[in-house]
Symmetry: C2
Subunit: 405 residues, 2 copies
Amino acid sequence: MKAQIKAVPKGTVTSPEGFFAGAVSAGINERAAGKLDLAVLFSETPCVAAAVFTTSKLKSAPVVLTRQRLERGRAGAVVVNSGCANAFTGEHGLVDAAEVAGLVAEGIGIDPKDVLVASTGVIGVRLPMKRIRPAVERIIMSRDGGSDLAKAMMTTDTLPKETAVGVKVGDSEFTIGGAAKGSGMIHPDMATLLCFLTTDAPVETGFLKGALKKAVDASFNMISVDGDTSPSDTVLLLANGMAGGEPISADSPQADAFRQALERVCVYLARLIAADGEGATRLIEVVINGAASGLEARKAARAVVSSVLVKAAIHGADPNWGRVVAAVGSSGADMDEGRIDLYLGETQVIKAGRALPAGKRVVNKLLKSKEINLSVNLNLGKGSATAWGCDLSEEYVAINSEYMT
Amino acid sequence: MKAQIKAVPKGTVTSPEGFFAGAVSAGINERAAGKLDLAVLFSETPCVAAAVFTTSKLKSAPVVLTRQRLERGRAGAVVVNSGCANAFTGEHGLVDAAEVAGLVAEGIGIDPKDVLVASTGVIGVRLPMKRIRPAVERIIMSRDGGSDLAKAMMTTDTLPKETAVGVKVGDSEFTIGGAAKGSGMIHPDMATLLCFLTTDAPVETGFLKGALKKAVDASFNMISVDGDTSPSDTVLLLANGMAGGEPISADSPQADAFRQALERVCVYLARLIAADGEGATRLIEVVINGAASGLEARKAARAVVSSVLVKAAIHGADPNWGRVVAAVGSSGADMDEGRIDLYLGETQVIKAGRALPAGKRVVNKLLKSKEINLSVNLNLGKGSATAWGCDLSEEYVAINSEYMT
């Protein structure tokens, strides 16, 4: 069925009907006095919920608790804090996370089991409960509180990350919104990344899970900042059905439009995260075409955006194509040196394995733009994939040498 | 059988009997005028030879040629150059590599098929044959030319890397020497790394291959500088038998001593490479004990030394233990948060998953020393492994932003 998908002007995680949010400064990180660092997202009607979590064997207490609570496939609210990840905190961490959720449930008047939890920040330190307890009471939620929530999630992020799209498909109209944080520790397989997605569409549970997994694979799992994986990664999707109508399932005429709109929101947020990597000055988009399979295309695309040498070369606007080809070669994806084509934006720089004498000025200008697009055709098959990353700057090292001290 | 293994004072790759080397400045890299960049290693009697090569699908021309020539399991000489990797150079690259080998064979008077080739430097550029042809003729080989060869291999390395050990076992006496280069692009699975190992021990081919594989797995495959893999990696082992005696095989009484001595040479060179990573100021040694298996221990050890966040934290002498635990957690190795012990040198900083209030001054002093030892006990099984890496400095980024421009 024909669908219209349009960006909502100034869209946020509370753009869909029935979602409320609010944030306060609880003083969780003493060095960031006054910064919003504790927020609640709430739906006035119960939601069908799905999530994707970190693949690390070290899971933060909020991840353990939220995963367990989501087994019922429903939720009513999420409480999130920055400044402390509540990870590697043992049994205490679980008790603290449950207490925060309980306070929020009490304030809103819902079942504590319907409150999910997410945290981001320093690992190995307990939540400062003395500061959090009174702060929870100060949170005031409103329909336009989405942006405050996006701000409260930020750590070394330089910009809040949020968006929403409106979808019209047949007689149905619904909205999907999202807020995310990234910056440090961002890597394929969901390194420190929190993302809350909301929709007022009515969605059947099984379909919701499948659509979320697919959208995450095409977006958050295709970005890399530094190759590290965090114990806290969480992408949550809440659907409250307030737009009305029959629940969307895989067979519904609205299914494709829902999938597309969800992927669009996720890719938009993922690109913002990649562009705002710690110390980043440039967004790198890598497209792989002609791989032997889709899986090999994903491997190759991720290898190129993850290559420290490619990242450093792009930071220095250094046209070192050999590093791009070397990253593809070491990714494990099949390649034939004599077939590779490489484009920088629209300009072809390698043809059938040979460097072309591309105009130095053009290349130099392209390499200095804020967004670099590298497109590789392996000319072996039909697999393609896109990944996003950022350049590696001296500032990245400075930020990460002094995070705690 | 009881064995004595001792370092040879000022040992080099030509310390074993019958090996000769020489180097010249061919001017391969115009920006490094006068630097030794072309060298030949030669044995006066034919050698049994084994090698381990890059795992990248992109293989440099010298790797393709040398791998093919080694199918016969023998060799007489190796020619190596720095300044140009002769990688991603297509058919031309193979022709150039074969020509260099041919010139060396002619000069020495041996079969060209017995001459192996190795190159390191920029990718995607052809060898400057006009400069190399006359330079080959100028090379003068001598028994004490080992150090010149080690210098000629260097690119961004700040120090030549060479060593030798003497072995006495029963009535046998033999020597093992080695020279290596590393610096950029060093990663588990043998990123840009050239290493030539020599011995005057008589060694049976099958045993030589197995012993080399094992020594490389415990040394060069356990180091990481930046996570990138190069198309040029080569570790070569030549055994000329000039120490006399029966060929050593897996059943020989000398087998264990040979293995140990070879591993000692490889670990020594691997540590030098890790410590001399581009922009590195500190060597990081990570020991994993108590893993569920040896394989999981290797995974975990490599994950910690490869973690950009751990590397940056150590550069800043920032006691961020959470990053070490997070790296173990995301390595894929089994772990139980509540069982982990972590030591910094001799000082325990985490016990059964809880951070100990270790003396700040002690920790600060230890984190500022040139060699940092992190030792993790997962307390799950008997697997252990050691890996080496270096810190990540602002200078690393500066070096790699400006490599070609």
